[in-house]
């Protein structure tokens, strides 16, 4: 599991670079590094379907970012390289959070089955106990609405967000102000 620690450290460094670098194109590339590291991580954790989705989403995101940056500007004017005293406390908090994160993740990864042993422990439990625990004859319904209800809640939230986004962007006319001017 050493490669996972290396990936995690690289992702933290790349995320910090993405925030702090002045060239926006380089920041987008750093963001891409974070996303593709997540994809590699999914492969290492034996979830290739998630890795494929992550690669597609990350590629699209980086392409969108690059397209927007190339059409506008690639200098982030809000970042200055000069040292300021009020940056010390946030930096210390960042550092402490990173160390804490790596410790927690290290303990979580220690509980994973070792490389080469079957990882489908949870799935076997779902299939074996699905009918008995939930009473649903369809094991898929038992999994998505009972064992993994949080997952479905997130999926419904994604759909809700998508609908709200489409309605916001595609709405014509918008609300009118009292004096007849279009606010949108």
């Amino acid at each position: 599991m050493v490669e996972l620690y290396v990936l995690l450290a690289a992702m933290i460094i790349a995320a910090l670079v993405a925030i702090e670098i002045r060239d926006l194109l380089a920041a987008a590339v750093a963001l891409g590094i974070v996303g593709f590291s997540v994809a590699i991580m999914f492969i290492l954790l034996q979830a290739p379907d998630l890795a494929i989705v992550q690669i597609v989403v990350e590629t699209l995101t980086v392409v969108f970012f690059a397209a927007v940056i190339l059409r506008t500007t690639n200098v982030d004017g809000t970042i200055s390289g000069a040292f300021r005293r009020e940056m010390v406390f946030p930096a210390a908090v960042y550092g402490m959070f990173c160390v804490l994160f790596l410790i927690v993740v290290g303990r979580a990864l220690a509980g994973l089955p070792s490389f080469g042993s079957p990882t489908m422990l949870v799935a076997g439990q779902y299939i074996a106990l699905g009918l008995e625990r939930t009473g649903a004859a369809n094991v898929v319904a038992a999994i998505i609405l009972d064992f993994r209800g949080y997952d479905t809640l997130g999926e419904a939230t994604v759909l809700f967000t998508a609908v709200v986004g489409v309605l916001t962007i595609a709405r014509r006319g918008g609300r009118k102000e009292k004096n007849g001017e279009d606010r949108s």
């Binding site: 649903a136 319904a141 609405l145 009972d146 759909l159 809700f160 006319g173």
Partner: protein, 146 residues
């Protein structure tokens, strides 16, 4: 939006009811057979989309059903979250199911705790949401300008 030819209208009138019925069936039997809220909701939305494509609609009707389906979509989401929160009522955790409501007799329609109402909530949400997206993307181009 203008309607289509009489042939399309007759066939759409025959199909739309069956599509809606089949969507309702898929939603209600989600815990027994393949399918569930997402698949059934898409079928329900398809029946509405078929009707409005075949027969067309006027601007005011479309605007009303646009508002209505947005509201219904949000209500479906609220229903789903309150079903999840209902686990707290029985003194258990978020999304607690069988321990609070019992599993019922497997393979019966009324069984498996909150899975059936959760499927219904998701079906309402997906059906209304997709129809609202259709109205916003497809119809607004023609009629929602004013």
């Amino acid at each position: 939006m203008r309607g289509m030819s009489p042939i399309v209208q007759v066939v759409a009138r025959l199909l739309a009811g069956m599509l809606f019925l089949f969507g309702t069936y898929v939603v209600l039997h989600g815990h027994l057979t393949p399918g569930g809220g997402f698949a059934g909701g898409v079928l329900i939305a398809a029946s509405f989309i078929l009707m409005s494509l075949a027969f067309g609609s006027v601007a005011q009707t479309e605007r009303n059903s646009y508002t209505f389906s947005s509201v219904v979509e949000s209500l479906g989401g609220v229903l789903f979250v309150s079903l999840a929160l209902a686990g707290y009522v029985g003194g258990a955790f978020f999304f607690q199911n069988a321990a609070v409501y019992g599993t019922g007799t497997p393979l019966r329609l009324i069984s498996s705790g909150i899975i059936l109402p959760a499927n219904i909530a998701i079906g309402i949400k997906v059906g209304a949401g997709l129809f609202a997206v259709f109205l916003a993307l497809g119809a607004s181009r023609f009629v929602m300008k004013d």
